[in-house]
Amino acid sequence: MEEIKKIARELLAENKVQVVLGFEKGTANKVRPAFFTKAEDIDKLIYNEACIHNIALYLKKDTCQHAKGVAITATPNVVRSILQLSAENQITEEKIHIIGITHEGKCAGILDFKAAEEFSKTQPKGLKPEDKALIEKIQAMSLEERFDYWVEAFSPCIKCYACRASCPMCYCGKCNVETNNPQWIPVASHKYGNVEWHMMRAMHLAGRCINCGECNRSCPVDIPLNILSYMLSDFVLDEFDSEAGLNSVFTSALSAYTVVDKENFIK
């Protein structure tokens, strides 16, 4: 922890960065994302295992966009998001100083993108056991049960779009759900509108989701959204050997193909 603070302090003091993106203490026993612009404020910077928010999200927000240099305390999920954002031309390496934090909470020092790629490869990833169990449970259902399950699971959705807002990969200026003429997805949060919205979002994240679980965490009504995009990412990895968040240059499973892509359903 002290090492992280030391690095952050130095970066600010040397004016290499104008803002350090990290965490501070929040309400009650919560933690929350914080922006540090002065070296003396770094005392308030914290990192503990509650700091699971994917703060890579803020790299696309005004505060970071306007700064010449940004440092970010980056857990493996954040690092993967950064790499994927870079792969999708959303951020550039020059201004981002990644202060790596391993899955065990140890400081991994400053990572350039090359080092971040290595870091990303070596850090464990995967789904929480309960999510995995849920995927298996759903897969074991009959077709009708699966359909009913999801319609029911989505029905509490109020379309507050917290899932979208907290997802670093949902950076579109204008989301598909906001496209009208044609109105691809009903705005109303009725059952149909909810199913279409979440289906579209899962498709858009296929092969791009780094599986941080942020969508699920921020959902005020606790919909297990993350398993949708995770299931697809996992599938894409299996089928096309393509994984998001490992590479800082272009990679996207659906913007690529091989002549020998396997399927067993096209007649």
Partner: protein
């Protein structure tokens, strides 16, 4: 408010026998937005078209649906009718109720209902059609011909003679290509160089042709009509403007033992050389890898003897930029070398040569002055074995295809051999004799009947050397698959014709596709045999697949015709059914977020990066931009775009969505 006209065609009885056309017309008249609906016997006939034109004028129609045959049949007809009536031609849609309805279904309510649905869906679509203007692209009337073999020469001359400028780039010091290496040509046995060299000279003298030899294409940018090409002119170490081609330098060069590429290693050349006596241009180049001066820093003998003082040891590669409107790839092919064949000794037996080497040997200007001699000891071979399909049609060798020219040149080789070695015997192992072509089969018959070539149908499993002879072990499939063993003096392998070295890199520079054998791919194997998928880039000759001389020349003339068509007007008109990225007001400029996940899916490299900058020149945003000159309108980018920032005219999101919506909600 839309005012759509619906025109239901009976197509004689083709449609009306199955579909109740008046009923369809009646129902269509009640669709929201339909201002006029009519049915008629032959909509494509003159009176039918007049009906359309008059209705557009009279009812002030804002779009029409012609419900008739397939749009692949008559869409242009009715678009013209729209234009005649003063309606934008792209405000016309066709509902296919013939091929997709009356011809494939039985008469009945469900068939009528289908026709009605199809019309409804097209009405909903056409309501959302945009008036489009065809795209005009300026054309630079200069062609680039890459490769100076017979195909390149033919293409360049034809284009130049049509009055257009041509820039020709040849990798070697001289143009001429493989044809200049050949002895005689089948099926006429006329001397290859005798017919080629006048054409080479013509290229050099044609005022419309700029020739760069010892040069390669460095990069290509742009699109049809507007390519920018960088050419690397490698340093010849000679001032071409001063050299008078006297040849003194080449005779005085002390380095004489460099294997001559033109003779395929069967002769030697000096370090400063012209590849062959009839070379065009007749300007030597210094082979810097082998030149004593470049190796050791001392020599410069050529410089001493050069009267016009044309030697330039410090010459550097030069990059030349040219603007061209079309490109013809004529880079030719190569043949597999004998070292490709493990079963024939990995090229270690000197007396096993390939067909091209035999050509040089048989050529009067070749290393043996036309005499057939064993490379190992110079003896005249009395028994010679020709192996056809050496590598070709052999999946185990990774070459599944037929190299096409080998059957003919092998027959020619057997004939030439017999003409030169009267008491010799030629054996030919073959899989099939493929002699399709004018006077071709007659030619192979001649080899068999007049020149007594011994054709054995079977393949050769191995060749080994024993006591100075080559033991050829093969099988005769027409003689009960018996093993045949021939003690030969010499073996000629008709090795497979393969893509030229560097074909892949060139294809990538030009953004054209190539097949698994690295041959360039044509746009359509039948109907667009000389076009590539990239508009404005064409293919001629053996760079596409092995071809003989007449085929190469025909393709080259075809390319020249295509390019002359392209150059016939100063502007190029293209269908405007292409993709575009949306633009909105600042501060967003576009809903495009610049992820560029669309970029790799474009087969035409039409998606470019467009930087939006403020007045001070600071980058605000990078957006995708679709180059209308390159886009061919497949729409794959549209479906890839997550923020729906890309759309495609003719098949917009609105149109497709409405079609689906209308189709089902009857």
């Amino acid at each position: 408010m839309a005012r759509i006209g619906v025109f239901i065609c009976h197509c004689g009885e083709n449609i009306s026998a199955t579909v109740d056309c008046p009923k369809v017309s009646e129902v269509a008249a009640k669709f929201p937005g339909v201002a006029y609906s009519v049915d008629y016997k032959y909509m494509c006939s003159d009176p039918g078209q007049s009906l359309v034109v008059n209705a557009i004028k009279e009812h002030k129609l804002t779009g029409i649906v012609v419900s008739a045959c397939s749009p692949r049949m008559h869409e242009p007809t009715f678009r013209r009718a729209c234009a005649e009536a003063g309606l934008n031609p792209y405000l016309c849609e066709m509902a296919n109720i013939r091929e997709h309805c009356s011809w494939v279904h039985e008469k009945g309510d469900r068939t009528d209902q289908k026709a009605i649905d199809v019309v409804r869906m097209m009405v909903e679509k056409v309501k959302r059609n945009n008036a489009l203007m065809s795209i005009k692209v300026p054309v630079t009337k200069t062609a680039l011909v890459i490769g100076g073999g017979v195909a390149g020469i033919q293409a360049a001359l034809d284009i130049a003679n049509a009055g257009h400028k041509v820039v020709m780039v040849e990798r070697e010091p001289s143009i001429g290509g493989h044809m200049s290496q050949l002895s005689e040509t089948f099926p006429t046995l006329d001397c290859s160089q005798c017919i080629l060299t006048p054409r080479m000279v013509e290229v050099a003298q044609n005022p419309n042709i700029t020739l760069y030899t010892y040069a390669e294409v460095e990069s290509v940018e742009g699109f049809v009509g507007n390519f920018n090409v960088k050419i690397r002119k490698k340093a010849k170490s000679i001032d071409e403007t001063l050299c008078n081609g006297c040849g003194m330098c080449t005779t005085k060069c002390p380095q004489k033992k460099i294997p001559n590429e033109f003779e395929l290693g069967m002769g030697n050349r000096p370090a400063i050389y012209v590849p062959f006596p009839q070379a065009v241009p007749n300007v030597p180049v210094i082979d810097r890898l082998n030149c004593t001066y470049y190796k050791n820093g001392k020599c410069k003998i050529c410089e001493k003897f050069c009267q016009p003082k044309a030697i330039r040891f410090d010459q550097e590669d030069e990059i030349i930029e040219v603007a061209v409107g079309a490109i013809s790839i004529c880079t030719g092919f190569d043949v597999k070398k004998t070292d490709f064949f493990p079963e024939y000794g990995y090229g270690k037996h000197k007396d096993i040569i390939d067909g091209l080497q035999f050509e040089r040997m048989a050529s009067a200007s070749g290393p043996t002055l036309g005499a057939i001699r064993r490379p190992s000891d110079g003896a005249e071979p009395k028994k010679i074995v020709f192996v056809a399909c050496a590598g070709s049609r052999d999946p185990a060798k990774g070459i599944e295809y037929c190299s096409k020219i080998c059957c003919m040149y092998t027959a020619k080789h057997a004939i030439l051999y017999k003409h030169k070695v009267h008491d010799g015997t030629a054996y030919i192992f073959y899989m099939d004799i493929r002699a399709a072509g004018k006077n071709y089969d007659e030619f192979t018959r001649r080899a068999i009947e007049e020149d007594n070539a011994q054709y054995i149908r079977g393949r050769v499993s191995s060749i080994y050397e024993r006591d100075g002879k080559l033991i050829v072990i093969g099988t005769d499939t027409l003689m009960n698959h018996e093993t045949v063993e021939i003690e030969a003096d010499m073996v000629v392998l008709a090795t497979a014709g393969v893509a030229n070295q560097g074909a892949e890199e060139l294809a990538q520079k030009l953004h054209v596709s190539y097949d698994q054998h690295r041959f360039f791919s044509e746009a359509h194997p039948k109907l667009k045999p000389v076009e590539t998928n990239t508009a404005g880039i064409y293919l001629a000759g053996a760079c596409q697949s092995p071809k003989d001389i007449p085929e190469s020349v025909a393709a080259a003339s075809g390319v020249a015709g295509k390019i002359s068509c392209l150059f016939s007007s100063s502007e190029l008109t293209r269908e405007p059914l292409i993709a575009f990225v949306d633009r909105i007001a600042a501060p967003d400029y576009s809903s495009c977020t610049g992820c560029f996940l669309c970029q790799p899916v474009c087969p035409y490299n039409a998606i470019e990066k467009e930087d939006i900058k403020d007045r001070a020149g600071n980058l605000i945003k990078s957006l995708a931009y679709i180059n209308p000159g390159l886009c061919q309108g497949c729409g794959t980018c549209v479906a890839i775009c997550k923020s729906k920032s890309i759309d495609i005219d003719g098949y917009t999101n609105q149109q497709m969505y409405s079609e689906v919506d209308a189709l089902l909600n009857s």
